[in-house]
Each structure stands twice: as structure tokens, then as C-alpha cells.
Subunit: 326 residues, 2 copies
């Protein structure tokens, strides 16, 4: 273990939030020189967590942009802290490549939470050293848990694939939406539905109060119809007034308890670890192969031949692997 | 080249639809014993196509279930045949693993087209020998083109990722939707929008006629607002009455001509070939590695150690690669 990793772990164990942030930054590095430190940091975090297993809970908040996910997490996070928890919020934005900036994990929308000593907020973790949002998030979750945070909240914009990815790294998925005219079931498409454990119909304040109540009721009926009982609960919430946040918290606790009691939580996490193993394997394999000198010699040439039509993509791929003696 | 491939190619060149179907079935095989034949078949198809380049056009029809994609393709396909084209319809269903059956490429909904000697319909191509819907479709497109079909229509259910995948293998994407109360822009989410070249608001018949007209107009305005001009055209269509099918066909032809004239079609196909190369590389690499004896010895053991928590996923992945001397 290098001095850098020792120093970072020391800070981590002391509960230093700056140290935790530096750990995540290290894990996000794509420089080959950082790889050994990344691995020993992850291993050390895993060892720390193994000394107090079964404590952490991971909950994702997903939904379309503009429905108030950050503000709702702010409220819910404060409630968790009142209950004696330490809360880490990780934001992953699968669309940030396109929009050029993160609309998630906005600290101004989590002002109360971000000021609290028992909270840690990491806006927009970008793709990590193994690539892919799922990997990044898994690793960030691990270091947060090693740092003593027992409630990990993952915020992500729902864009189809992202709900699927995030459901692979958390225990529970909360879908956040709001009542808007003509919106219907927008954002709750088939397939995504199956991954959602709970729905919050947010912005149930002022003029929007009645609309949110109606929307939650209609959504609840529709989900029951589509998914059959037991369908996910639909709870009207307001990050402004605090309406529904206690109910949301209670339902999340109840669902998590059920997962623990029937053994699903353990089973789910075991499956997630196996997935992580396979994905890490694939990512490392890609990296190793691309570092081989034969790769560097032939890949560019074959790519050119594919581009100008001299070789079919398939034949070129096969030739390259032959050159690698694979 | 084996006798089997020779026989299949012979049938293919003769325009035998049964032979074409057998080619696609061969490409879908995951048996290692079929790999050599798959490669020589693809190479031969590529050679055939190279003798008459630039003729084929590939158009995807995507959209939520139940909007009448198959029926619309039926109508549009007949129009293409009247114009002297030979039409192949390929259906890919990314949800079929879940639903256990295809709701696409339904031949009963393409009865007229399927009876025509200049049409070939392949319902629900499943994941191919390289895995992934994009690969399957690319390969199926290739053999259809080698068989002399110059208009390839790809039908897929829109579930977020699938529009992205299908946009990687075609020249143009048509989004099919319909007017439904409260639906708004459902199904046209941000991100997907950027891949859509044209929108058909289907089921504009009988009672639905006026609603489809309104919906197309509203959608057109919304798209202009969201995407800025020039936004994709929104055309009310009816697969029953035939309304709008000629306009749809004309707009598709115009868009394709523009792509040819400004060089985008060549550029796009070149990029798609490079993508195909990289994806084929990855898929073949995975297969080769998993066939190594060291892999077989250690993978299962390490997976067990990850499952029971003895090793972290990351450390286990790294160990396996060390065993492979990578």
C-alpha cells in the first residue's frame, strides 16, 4: 500500500469529508499510474466494511429532469439524520455528456443537507476508472460505506437505461415524478416499471397540491392495473412543505425491512457482486488487451481498412485477434 | 468455404427466400461449430454487395407497442414494391426476453406484404452469434442486401436503448406513435428525439382521424420548440385507409436523397462499420478468452469466492486476468 492510499484511508476512517472526496476522485482517475492505488483502496474499503456487515442501505432516486429530486433528497436526508443516520448522496448523470453539465446533485438544492456534518454530497460522479456509470457508483458507494455512511442515496436522471443500471447497485429504487397536465404515465415506461419499488409524486405544494394528490391516485390505480397487486405505493410529496416525506421514509424503511427479513437483500447484493465481478473482468480485459504492443500496431491499420471498405468489420476483428494470438 | 455455405449462397443469389431465412438462422446460431461458416457467409455477402455499392437504403420504424408499426410497414412496403423495390422487413424485439414472445414482425399484420414475391419478412430476429441486437440486425441486413433486397425496413419497439441501438444500423429512423388522450409526448423522451428523423402519427382513421391530425400538429410544434428548426416532420398516417402513406414515402425518399447528396450517408455508414468492427472485436475477444482452459479452471472458483465474500469483485477480476497472463 502506498503512502497516498494510507493517508487517504486514515482520513476516511477519521470521517474527513475532504478525504472521502479525494478517494472518489482517485477512483475516477483514468490514468494507468493510479490503477494500483485504486485497487488497494477498494480492497481496504471492502475490509473495513467487512468488520461491520449488514449496516448500510442503498436507495436510488430516479425520474425525469425538473421533478425536484434534489430537493426531495434534501428533505429525506435531513429526516434520516434526525433518525441517527449518516447520509451520503451520490449523483450520476448519464446525460451529462450531451448537456455538457450536470443538472443533478445540485448543492444549492441540498443546501440544508450539505451543511450538515453527518451528510456527504458528491455531485455528478463521472464515469470511473473502469468506465460506465454502474462501476463508478459501485465504487463510490463502497468508499462512502467505509467512511461510515450508512444511508447511501443515489440520484439519477431517468433515461431508460439509467434506471436499469442504477437498480443494479442499490437495494431500492424510488421513482420521482410530478403532476403535469397531459403527462399521464410519462416516464414510467414498461420495463422500467419492474425496477421501481416506490413512487413519489413531488411538488404537492400550493396550487399543485390537489393535482399531485389526484396524480398519485391515478398513477396508483394504473400501476395496480399494469403490474398487478402488490403495486408500488404512490406517495404525494412536497420538498417545500415537507408533506409526505415522513410517509416516504416510513415506506422505504418498511420495504427495506421486508427485504432483510425474507433474505432478498442478501441475495440481491450477492447477485450484484457477481455482476460487478463480470463487469470489472470485462473492463480490465479491454484495458489489458489495448495495452498490448500487437494491438497498437494492428488496430489502427485494420480500422483504416474497415473504414475504406477493404475489409469487412468482422474479418478485420478476427484478424486482429489472430495477431494477438487469441 | 464449406458445402453448406456454398449451397446457402447459391440459394441466396437465386433469390430463394427459404435460403435467405436459413442464412439468418445460421448467423443467429451460438454454436462454436458454426462460427467458421458464419464468417465466410458474411464475407461472401460483403463481396456480393461490393459489386453493386450504394443501392440499398435502411429505414427503422420504432415506437411504443400498439401504435400499429407492423400494419404501417405493410402499407409502406407495398408502396415501395409498386415503385420497383424489393423489400426486406427485419423485426428486433429488445423486450422479448421479458415478455417471452414477440409482438413484432407479426406476419398477420403484414399479410399483404408477406404474400408478395418481392418481400421478405423475418419476425423477431433474436440475439445473434455475437450477441446484442445491433449485431444481429447488422448481419441480417447484410444477407438481405446480398440477396438483392434494396429496401431494408427494421421494426423495433422503442424502449430507450433500442432506438439508440437501431439508429446505429440504419440510415433513417421513423418514430411511429398515435394520438391517445393524455399521452402528450410520451415515448419521445429527450435523447431519443435526436435520433428520430421523421414521426408518423398512426391510426388516423375513423373516429381517430381528427385526433391524429391534432396530435401531429401539436407534436410538430413541440418538436420545433424542443429541437429547433428544422424539426422532424410529423405526418398523420393510417395503415387502414392508407392516408399519409404516400406522403410518408415521399418524405423518406427526400430525406434519403439529402443524405446521399450531402455525403452524410457514406459518412454515417463508414462510422457504423467502425462501430461494428469494435463491437465484433469485443464480442470475439470475450468468446476467445472464455474458451481458454485457465479461464475455465479459475472463473468458477473466483465467482464462488466473490459470492461468499471471500474476495472483492475487483480483486477477483484482477486475479483471473493474472492467471490468464494478461
Amino acid at each position: 500500500m502506498t503512502d497516498r492510499v494510507k493517508e487517504l484511508l486514515d482520513l476516511l476512517v477519521k470521517g474527513d469529508r475532504g478525504g472521502l472526496a479525494r478517494c472518489i476522485t482517485l477512483l475516477e482517475s483514468r490514468r494507468p499510474i493510479d490503477e494500483a492505488d485504486q485497487i488497494s483502496l477498494l480492497q481496504a474499503c471492502d475490509d473495513i466494511i467487512a468488520t461491520r456487515p449488514g449496516i448500510s442501505r442503498r436507495v436510488a432516486f430516479t425520474g425525469p429532469p425538473g421533478v425536484g429530486k434534489s430537493s426531495l433528497i434534501n428533505r429525506y436526508g435531513l429526516r434520516l439524520i434526525r433518525d441517527g443516520h449518516r447520509v451520503a448522496v451520490l449523483a450520476i448523470d448519464p446525460t451529462s455528456k450531451r448537456t455538457g453539465g450536470s443538472i443533478l446533485g445540485d448543492k444549492t438544492r441540498m443546501a440544508d443537507l450539505s451543511r450538515h456534518e453527518n451528510a456527504f454530497i458528491r455531485p455528478s460522479a463521472t464515469s470511473g476508472h473502469l468506465g460506465g456509470t454502474a462501476e463508478t457508483t459501485r465504487e463510490a458507494i463502497l468508499v462512502c460505506e467505509a467512511a461510515g455512511y450508512d444511508r447511501i442515496l443515489v440520484e439519477t436522471v431517468g433515461v431508460g437505461q439509467s434506471e436499469h443500471d442504477v437498480s443494479q447497485v442499490v437495494d431500492l429504487v424510488v421513482f420521482v415524478t410530478m403532476a403535469r397536465s397531459g403527462d399521464g404515465l410519462q416516464g414510467i415506461k414498461r420495463g422500467i416499471l419492474e425496477m421501481v419499488d416506490l413512487v413519489a409524486v413531488n411538488k404537492a405544494e400550493d396550487d399543485g397540491h390537489q393535482a399531485a394528490l389526484n396524480h398519485a391516485r391515478e398513477l396508483g390505480s394504473a400501476l395496480k392495473l399494469l403490474q398487478g397487486a402488490p403495486a408500488p405505493a404512490c406517495i404525494p410529496t412536497s420538498a417545500i412543505s415537507g408533506l409526505g416525506v415522513d410517509e416516504l421514509s416510513d415506506v422505504i424503511d418498511r420495504l427495506l425491512s421486508e427485504l432483510v427479513d425474507n433474505g432478498s437483500l442478501d441475495e440481491q447484493r450477492q447477485n450484484q457482486r457477481i455482476q460487478w465481478f463480470e463487469m470489472a473482468l470485462n473492463a480490465l480485459l479491454q484495458r489489458r488487451i489495448r495495452d498490448l504492443p500487437e494491438w497498437k500496431t494492428h488496430h489502427a491499420r485494420l480500422k483504416d481498412e474497415v473504414t475504406d471498405g477493404t475489409k469487412t468489420p468482422y474479418a478485420a476483428a478476427r484478424e486482429l485477434l489472430e495477431r494477438l494470438a487469441l
